[in-house]
């Protein structure tokens, strides 16, 4: 059995599955039940400064994108940070941590961008014996209008400044949660590292309006006929999160920095992908909000079984395995030539590959009078669209042409050596091959 125990910036947990700072972690009752269900750690719902807590809307806080059978594909929320008093949250955190010493308990914090505010809250958080803190520089709605959340995360200088305060007034690990609502995710990560942060976590939610009510002309979720952008999360955002994680994992300035992966983690496989792209653990929210805490059983058993199958003994053996294979487009091998192949035995003759290729791509699929579909190798650019639209898995595959074979489309012989855009004759800035 693979060992799922993880050590993330010195914080150990029995598995790499943490619940993200969000409604599921807003109070003791939930967190105790989450630990009972098997979650390795919890990032407590974001704490605000002492004083009257924030208030939430009293109408709907969530909007969603559904599949045909109401499968929840993407979730949007306009909920703010915890609306419970700071003291209550701190007392509960201390009690839970005392009872669950083997689980990670992280305090998420969002207070104004003033040194005094951080200096005031950090010692109190430390008293709870929480394992570390996560700075919420990510929430894109509500709090950002008040100069917090993503308003901080979008200004690298602020990130660095606040992280320095935190490292000055708090002696346990500091994780910076990043907003994806920014042009270059590497900059805030770099700022966090420069400030001394122990890790980054990403992504927080993405600015979103899930839908428009075409009767009332209100965005959804609608509060008395009006809507505000919320934060988008769930399965739909995973590809965006994976890309941002990979950028931080491979950028020179941030390489090796611990990353807690967040964004649409729904199954063990999603988690394994985040870990392979450099995450030391993952945080989950929407999947738990959709299905309840019990999903962690599937995640843990699935990850463990896969690791056993692949011969990985520890989670750390997997971390970053795919990072070396993430590269810039310009370094992709242009001598790698493939052609689509349709398995006629598997084909159910729906014709979707034909429609997609004929209407929108390269007219590289032929249809016979009997509706048999075949690839025209002299037209196929191997774009993969037919593979993606085919409803039968593995019916259409991309077959690699071997060196020495001729590509019927270009008439050129496939070369063994790799060659990319940097040396391509059509590239005005090409460097001559040596």
């Amino acid at each position: 059995m693979a060992d799922l125990t993880t050590d993330f910036v010195g914080i150990t947990s029995p598995n790499p599955f943490w619940l993200a700072s969000a409604p599921p972690t807003d109070k003791e009752y939930n967190v105790r039940r989450a630990f009972q269900a098997g979650w390795g750690g919890v990032v407590w719902k974001t704490l605000g400064a002492e004083g009257p807590p924030v208030v939430n809307v009293n109408g709907p806080r969530y909007g969603a994108i559904h599949g045909a059978d109401r499968r929840l594909l993407g979730l949007n929320n306009i909920e703010l940070i915890t609306d419970r008093p700071l003291e209550v949250n701190l007392e509960e955190m201390a009690r839970v941590k005392a009872d669950w010493p083997d689980r990670a308990l992280i305090a998420s914090i969002m207070v104004p961008c003033e040194e005094a505010a951080w200096k005031a809250i950090l010692p109190r958080v430390a008293e709870t014996n929480a394992d570390g803190i996560e700075l919420n520089f990510g929430c894109p709605h509500g709090m950002s209008e008040r100069g917090m959340g993503s308003a901080v995360g979008q200004v690298p200088e602020y990130i660095e400044m606040v992280v320095r305060w935190c490292k000055a007034y708090y002696d346990r690990p500091v994780i910076v949660k990043l907003t994806p609502n920014i042009a270059d995710i590497r900059k805030p990560a770099e700022a966090a590292r420069n400030g001394g942060a122990d890790a980054v976590s990403l992504i927080n939610t993405i600015n979103s309006i899930t839908s428009v009510n075409l009767d009332t002309m209100s965005p959804e979720p609608s509060i008395d006929g009006k809507g505000s952008h919320g934060g988008y999360c769930g399965p739909a955002v995973k590809p965006i999160a994976l890309s941002m994680v990979s950028e931080i994992a491979r950028a020179e300035a941030t390489r090796g920095m611990p990353i807690s992966g967040i964004g649409g983690v729904t199954t063990w496989r999603d988690a394994a992908e985040f870990i392979a792209l450099g995450c030391g653990n993952v945080q989950v929210c929407t999947a738990a909000m959709t299905y309840g805490f019990r999903i962690v059983s599937e995640m843990a058993s699935g990850l463990s079984a896969w690791m056993d199958d692949k011969g990985y003994a520890r989670v750390s053996d997997v971390v970053g395995r795919a990072v070396p294979n993430v590269t810039d487009w310009q370094y992709l091998n242009l001598n790698y030539v493939t052609k689509a192949r349709i398995d006629q035995d598997a084909c159910i003759q729906c014709g979707r590959c034909y429609a997609a290729c004929e209407d929108t791509s390269h007219q590289a699929i032929a249809m016979s009078p009997a509706r048999m579909f075949t690839v025209k190798d002299d037209e196929c650019v191997a774009c993969n669209l037919c593979v993606e639209v085919c409803p039968v898995e593995d019916c259409i595959t991309m077959v690699e042409l071997q060196p020495g074979e001729t590509d019927p489309r270009t008439g050129r012989t496939v070369e063994d050596a790799s060659a990319n855009w940097t040396t391509h004759p059509n590239n005005p800035g090409a460097v001559a091959a040596e």
Partner: protein, 457 residues
């Protein structure tokens, strides 16, 4: 009150509540969510096999996509624009042999997209509206007689009315609908749908219905051609084939079509008499419909006796399974030899058959079944003798539905082709388009599937 064991032919074999349950909708309609989920299974195939398999060439992927995007009304328009009796076809089509049989998911998983039920969802939704979705072109001044208000005649009349012609729609019966009204199993067309569909269809206007007027009795073809610019015959098959066996004159020996018609017109099904032991002779849809409904009325035993093997039956495999799951026994390779009894039928003697390649022959081995009621369902025949050229036992028509007589078209069961509602609709519709082209000189409308034509050439 009688029960299933009461000898002879008796009414009230089952409680009214049980009868109501037995004759409830065979395929209850999908609600909006069920329809969305069912629609999501459609792959939106290119040049879809289901469309090619549909005699009326409904654009099935399009209407299913319209359902999936919350536009069931538009889906209904897509269907009814090709097949104005799409509501009935959704209920009675042997989809397992047509669209659903051709569905690529049938090939892939043995579980096709539920096209029939989705079609019903869409047509029910649109027809529940008060307005009629089709309008009429300006009056052309042409008058067309349509004889027979069954599926072929209704489809023809509606399309002619759409094109601006004035239609007089005759029917021999006192009620329009043809086999939709008198010939389909009750559990396939519940809540008076056949009548409601005709009422809905006539909303287009321009169609004068003349019930109780039969060709050959009240009307002549010469008279019609003299009075109208064109005539369409959709008279169906009014005759019933005779059973070649001794004793067919005994009480309790009936035509299955008459039994079904009576059943469809009955206000109180529990009052309908049925035998304790029923034997149905035949292998087509009519045989199955009569047999299943006999069971549903409370007959103790029902046997369908067919002279060939099950694979040769006119009824689809699905219909056969429906029968057997209703408790009907299908006795294959058996033909009737004698109907025995003293006045009323008591037994039927059947002889097993074999086909050694030189034709079907009796083997000499016989069996007897108790029978209080014997239904003949060995096919219907054309009875019209209007001087038209025949094709076998039917009216000869060309690809456009034209008969040997000038300005006379025909379609539906009285012409060659499968005797299906959906085929009749296609023939009626296409004849109407040809009549329209002939009368006005307009180009003939293309009504068939043509998405993949360009790719095939």
């Amino acid at each position: 009150m009688a029960d299933s064991y009461t000898p002879g032919i008796a009414a009230h074999r089952l409680e009214a509540e049980q009868i109501a349950l037995n004759f409830a909708d065979l395929h209850p309609p999908l609600d909006a969510h069920e329809a969305a989920v069912a629609a999501d299974r459609c792959y939106f195939c290119y040049d879809a096999p289901c469309v090619t398999a549909c005699p009326t060439a409904i654009d099935i992927p399009l209407f299913i996509r319209q359902i999936s995007t919350g536009q069931s009304d538009e889906a209904g328009r897509t269907i009814l624009g090709q097949n104005v009796l799409g509501g009935m076809c959704a209920r009675v089509c042997p989809t397992e042999d047509l669209c659903e049989g051709a569905c690529v998911r049938e090939a892939a998983e043995g579980k096709p997209v539920e096209i029939g039920r989705l079609q019903r969802h869409a047509t029910d939704t649109l027809m529940a509206r008060q307005d009629h979705p089709f309008g009429r072109a300006p009056e052309t001044g042409h008058r067309v007689a349509v004889v027979g208000a069954g599926p072929a005649g209704l489809a023809c009349a509606h399309r002619l009315a759409m094109r601006g012609h004035a239609v007089t729609l005759y029917d021999a019966k006192d009620k329009p609908g043809g086999l939709n009204e008198f010939g389909i199993a009750a559990y396939k067309s519940t809540d008076g749908f056949a009548q409601a569909e005709v009422d809905w269809l006539l909303q287009i206007g321009g169609i004068a219905l003349e019930p109780g007027r039969a060709l050959g009795r009240d009307l002549t073809l010469d008279g019609l051609t003299a009075e109208f610019d064109a005539v369409f015959l959709g008279v169906g098959l009014a005759g019933v084939n005779a059973l070649e066996a001794a004793g067919t004159d005994r009480d309790g020996v009936q035509d299955a079509v008459g039994f079904i018609a009576a059943l469809r017109q009955a206000d109180d099904l529990s009052a309908l008499p049925v035998g304790r032991n029923v034997v149905v002779i035949g292998g087509g849809m009519t045989a199955i419909d009569a047999a299943v409904q006999s069971r549903l009325l409370g007959a103790e035993t029902v046997t369908v006796a067919y002279r060939r093997g099950r694979g040769r039956m006119g009824a689809s495999r699905y219909e056969q399974d429906l029968a057997t799951s209703s408790g009907v026994r299908i006795l294959e390779n058996a033909q009737p030899r004698a109907i025995l009894g003293n006045g009323a039928v008591q037994q039927i003697e059947l002889e097993y058959t074999a086909d050694d390649g030189t034709g079907l022959k009796g083997t000499g081995e016989t069996l007897r079944l108790p029978a209080d009621q014997v239904f003949k369902a060995i096919g219907q025949t054309l009875t019209l003798a209007a001087g038209l050229e025949a094709d076998g036992a039917k009216i000869r028509v060309d690809a456009r539905g034209r008969t040997s007589a000038p300005r006379v078209w025909a379609g539906g069961d009285c012409t060659p082709g499968d005797d299906l509602t959906v085929v009749a609709v296609a023939q009626g519709r296409d004849a109407a388009e040809d009549i329209h082209a002939e009368l006005t000189g307009a180009a003939r409308a293309v009504t068939g599937a043509r998405i993949g034509d360009a790719a095939r050439t």
